[in-house]
C-alpha cells in the first residue's frame, strides 16, 4: 500500500485498478445482492462519484475513510469494480488526491438535474456499470476493522 507516499501512487488510474465505493443505504442493493445503478450516480448538479483506489488503500483504510463521512445511515460495505469497467461505460476515473491520497472520482459525461430523469442511454451504461460491480458487504459495520471478504 502507498497510502502515505504519493510518489508511489501514479496519478493515472490504470484499467486494472480496483475501485471501492462505500455504501451507506440498502436502497442501493437488491434483495439478491445485486447493485443498482443509483449507487454510481452523482447527486444533482454534479458528475463526480467518490471512490477509493484499492491500489493505495487497504480495505480497513477505506472503511476508516468511509466511517469518517457524515451519514444518516450506517456503513454497509463496498461496491467494487475495475477502472476498465468504468471506462467501458463511457465514464472516466481520475485521481483526486486533493481529497486524500487514494481518493479518486468516477466522472460521468452527464450531469443530472434534480427530479429529472437521466437520458436513457446514460441509464443503460450505468446499469452495465452496476452489473460489472460486486457488492462486498461488511459483516461487522460497527468495528473499525475490516472483516469482510476481499474487495
Amino acid at each position: 500500500m502507498c497510502q502515505d507516499n504519493p510518489d508511489l501512487l501514479p496519478l493515472y488510474v490504470s484499467d486494472e485498478e480496483k475501485l471501492a465505493r462505500a455504501l451507506f443505504h440498502p436502497f442501493h442493493i437488491s434483495r439478491s445482492g445485486k447493485l443498482y445503478s443509483g449507487a454510481f450516480k452523482a447527486p444533482a448538479g454534479r458528475n463526480d462519484v467518490s471512490v477509493n483506489r484499492l491500489r493505495a488503500l487497504s480495505p480497513a483504510a477505506c472503511k476508516q475513510r468511509a466511517k469518517a463521512i457524515r451519514s444518516p445511515g450506517e456503513f454497509m460495505g463496498f461496491a467494487v469494480l475495475s477502472a476498465r469497467a468504468v471506462r467501458d461505460c463511457a465514464s472516466e476515473v481520475v485521481d483526486s488526491r486533493n481529497v486524500y491520497l487514494g481518493h479518486a472520482d468516477i466522472v460521468h459525461e452527464v450531469i443530472l438535474h434534480k427530479g429529472e430523469p437521466a437520458p436513457p442511454e446514460f441509464n443503460l451504461r450505468l446499469k452495465r456499470m452496476a452489473a460489472s460491480a460486486r457488492y462486498v458487504p461488511d459483516p461487522n459495520p460497527g468495528s473499525e476493522q475490516w472483516s469482510g471478504g476481499a474487495p
Binding site: H25, G38, K41, P43, G73, K114, E116, P120
Partner: protein
C-alpha cells in the same frame, strides 16, 4: 397517467443476431384495453424469476419507505425523492394488470425513481421524474430507448415492452406498427415518434 413519447434506435425489421425469426405471433393485452399482436420476431419470454418478484403491496410499501428519505440519504448529498415522482410511480403500479410482475424499485441521488423489470434476457428500465420519464428496453440483443412527458397514460413504449415481456394477458387483438411501435388508437397529439 402517462403519454408523450420519443423513440429511438429502433431496428425491428432485422433478424435478431444469433436468432431465427419467429414465425408466430402472440396476442397480448394493453393496459388500456388495447390488445395487440406482437411482431413475429419477438420471442416472448415467460421466464420470470419469482424469487425476485415482490407483491404490489410490497413494492408500494417500499415506495413508502423511499418517501421517508431525507436529504443526503446516501451520504453523498443525494436529494430526497420528489413527491410527484412517488405519485407517478404509485399511479403506474396501480394501473398495472396483476399479471405483470412488480418491478424492482430504487431511488436515484437526484431525486428520481427507477423501476426495473426483467424477464429472461429482457430488461425494461423506467426512470420517473417529476414531469418526464426515460426508459430503455433490452430485448434479444437489441436496445430501444424512449423518453417523454408524463401524462395520464402509461407510456406506449413501456406498455408495449411489458406486453412483450409478459405476454400472459390476452384480449381482443389489435396490431401495432412494428416499425414505429405506434399503437393504433393512442392519441398522436401527445405522442412524438422518431425512428433512429
Amino acid at each position: 397517467m402517462f403519454a408523450g413519447l420519443l423513440i429511438s434506435h429502433i431496428d425491428l425489421e432485422a433478424p435478431l443476431p444469433g436468432h431465427q425469426i419467429c414465425e408466430y405471433e402472440t396476442v397480448t393485452t394493453g393496459f388500456l384495453g388495447k390488445p395487440l399482436l406482437c411482431p413475429r420476431h419477438f420471442k416472448p419470454s415467460v421466464a420470470v424469476s419469482l424469487e425476485k418478484t415482490e407483491t404490489r403491496a410490497g413494492v408500494l410499501a417500499r415506495l413508502h419507505e423511499i418517501s421517508k428519505l431525507g436529504s443526503n440519504w446516501d451520504a453523498y448529498a443525494a436529494e430526497p425523492v420528489d413527491g410527484t415522482c412517488l405519485a407517478n410511480a404509485r399511479n403506474l403500479l396501480t394501473a398495472l394488470p396483476e399479471s405483470i410482475p412488480s418491478p424492482e424499485v430504487f431511488p436515484n441521488p437526484n431525486g428520481t425513481l427507477t423501476l426495473d423489470w426483467e424477464s429472461g434476457d429482457q430488461v425494461l428500465s423506467l426512470e420517473l421524474g417529476a414531469q418526464r420519464f426515460s426508459s430503455f428496453w433490452q430485448s434479444h440483443h437489441r436496445t430501444t430507448t424512449a423518453e417523454g412527458e408524463i401524462t395520464q397514460e402509461i407510456p406506449t413504449f413501456v406498455d408495449i415492452a411489458l406486453r412483450v415481456m409478459f405476454p400472459d394477458v390476452a384480449d381482443a387483438p389489435e396490431r401495432y406498427d412494428e416499425r414505429t411501435l405506434d399503437v393504433p388508437g393512442q392519441s398522436r397529439s401527445t405522442t412524438s415518434l422518431r425512428v433512429g
